[in-house]
């Protein structure tokens, strides 16, 4: 199965989490979110049930380089960033665990962080990083 570039691969917002980005791409193209999620992820190497995003697949799907994607989405960075560096980011009132991502990473709908490009796109309920990884 080949992954080809989507017709309109909108850019990820700054600090958007991959599941939010993939959801936006799926909504924009009328695709099933879980189908697209399965296409760009694979089971974690630890053997668990969690699926981790494969940056190269997301790059193929969007036509954006892995470097550019990781620049916007810290979760894709390799090695992982020091999450304490995100301590300064404002935490919205409503936080919720996002399905499909590691439980300890909290995210929430945060309209104030939407970039103009993403805010105008359909299905732009952006999920962004809301704070450091809890210790």
């Amino acid at each position: 199965m080949l992954l080809r570039r989507l017709p309109d691969p909108v850019p990820p917002a700054r600090h958007e989490i991959p599941v939010s980005y993939i959801r936006r791409l799926a909504n924009l193209h009328g695709l099933d979110v879980s189908d697209l999620w399965v296409q760009v992820t694979e089971r974690e190497k630890s053997g668990g049930m969690r699926r981790a995003v494969v940056p190269e697949r997301l790059a193929a799907l969007t036509g954006r380089s892995v470097h550019a994607l990781a620049g916007a989405m810290p979760e894709l960075r390799d090695p992982q960033p020091d999450w304490r560096m995100f301590r300064h980011t404002p935490r919205p009132a409503a936080t919720a665990a996002t399905p499909g991502t590691p439980e300890e990473w909290y995210s929430a709908y945060c309209p104030t962080t939407a970039t103009s490009a993403c805010a105008t796109a359909p299905g732009s309920a952006l999920l962004t990083w809301t704070g450091p990884r809890p210790t």
């Binding site: 080809r4 989507l6 193209h29 695709l31 099933d32 189908d35 190269e56 193929a60 036509g63 892995v66």
Partner: protein, 366 residues
């Protein structure tokens, strides 16, 4: 229809899910990438070197120069035939008329025998429209105004929907049903502002079978849901029963049929038109020893050799040009044109229509 290679603008167009990156072996017109390359491809005629410049080249440079010209002649620019003009004019008018229609949009059927330039006319229509739209919206790089699909043999509704999805690059798991695919295709098409859908090889729809009739209904459903003008091309559509029955009557009431016919050589006007076409092709040649007017002088011979088929004509001239560069003579003669292989249909036509050649006995008697 050859496509030029273009510097990739994206890091990867495709990727295998097993992790290994790869670009597709070819980018056919039925993908947005292939279509985009076709639209952007504009063959630039190489400059013909003077005798002095040619003599000054090293053997290696000569090989490269010949290779460049061989590539150019193998992919000669398309000429504007009457069929292409008619299709483009009619379809662009219908696109305008359909723009604010909410249903019952009008479309075009391009029907004719093989080799008459149906696919060429259809793709040139799409190219002309896409270039015009790109000019109007230069900043909208993700706009895809034209979709080009072909009807696969023994098409079912799902196969047809997958053809549209393939053009856009949408991937589905095998368990996806036709509704999922159609919904995604329509959402994507609306999002990227598709306003012209080109459907080729429509004769592959067999309305006598259940799946063929369902596939035809699927096409009609797409035509209703997509705010676009549909242009179809196929072999002898009128006689294939596409306009028969209730479905057919509805199609017949909404579509303009543009016939794609071979050129004729019957009247003086026909002969002039054919000569002008040959002359246009000749003017594009970049051969060092070729005298302009040679091919127009041989236009009757070329007509009988090709049966007036634009596809055969293109193959004949391009083939002769490549051969003459290879053998170094650099000019096209009647003998060379007789050597170039043409398709079976053209050969049969030549047997039927070409004037009998003088035999050696008659020549001796003369």
């Amino acid at each position: 229809m050859d496509m030029s290679k273009r510097a990739p603008t994206a890091p990867a167009d495709t990727q295998h899910l097993d992790g290994g990156e790869s670009t597709p072996p070819d980018n056919p017109l039925i993908t947005k990438e292939g279509w985009g390359r076709f639209v952007e491809h504009e063959p630039v005629p190489p400059r013909l070197l003077t005798a002095a410049e040619w003599a000054a080249l090293t053997p290696h440079e000569r090989v490269r120069e010949q290779e460049r010209r061989r590539e150019y002649h193998a992919d000669l620019p398309m000429v504007n035939t009457p069929t292409i003009r008619k299709v483009v004019t009619t379809s662009r008018l219908l696109i305008q008329l359909n723009r604010n229609q909410i249903s019952a949009r009008r479309g075009v059927f391009l029907s004719g025998a093989s080799g008459t330039g149906k696919t060429t006319a259809l793709t040139q229509l799409g190219r002309a429209h896409e270039l015009a739209v790109r000019k109007r919206h230069p900043r909208d790089v993700n706009r895809l105004p034209v979709v080009y699909v072909t009807v696969p043999p023994a098409a079912t509704p799902k196969m047809l929907a997958m053809e549209f999805a393939r053009f856009f690059g949408l991937t589905f798991p095998s368990r996806a049903n036709v509704t999922d695919i159609v919904d995604a295709v329509c959402a994507t098409a609306a999002h990227v502002h598709v306003d012209l859908v080109l459907v080729d090889e429509i004769h592959n729809l067999n309305l006598a079978t259940r799946s063929g009739a369902e596939a035809s209904d699927q096409l009609k459903y797409f035509a209703e849901r997509l705010p676009a003008t549909f242009a179809y091309a196929g072999i002898d559509i009128e006689s294939a029963g596409l306009f028969a029955g209730i479905r057919g009557r509805q199609i017949a009431g909404r579509f303009v049929v543009v016939p794609a016919v071979p050129f004729s050589h019957a009247t003086t006007t026909d002969q002039e038109e054919w000569r002008a076409l040959v002359g246009t092709l000749e003017s594009m040649l970049r051969l060092r020893e070729h005298r302009p007017g040679t091919l127009t002088g041989l236009s009757e011979f070329i007509f009988h050799r090709t049966g007036g088929m634009i596809g055969s004509l293109s193959q004949l001239i391009r083939g002769a040009a490549v051969l003459t560069i290879e053998d170094g003579s650099e000019r096209i003669t009647e003998e060379l044109l007789a050597l170039v292989p043409v398709d079976y249909a053209a050969e049969q036509s030549e047997k039927r229509t070409a004037p009998a050649k003088r035999t050696s006995r008659r020549r001796r008697a003369a």
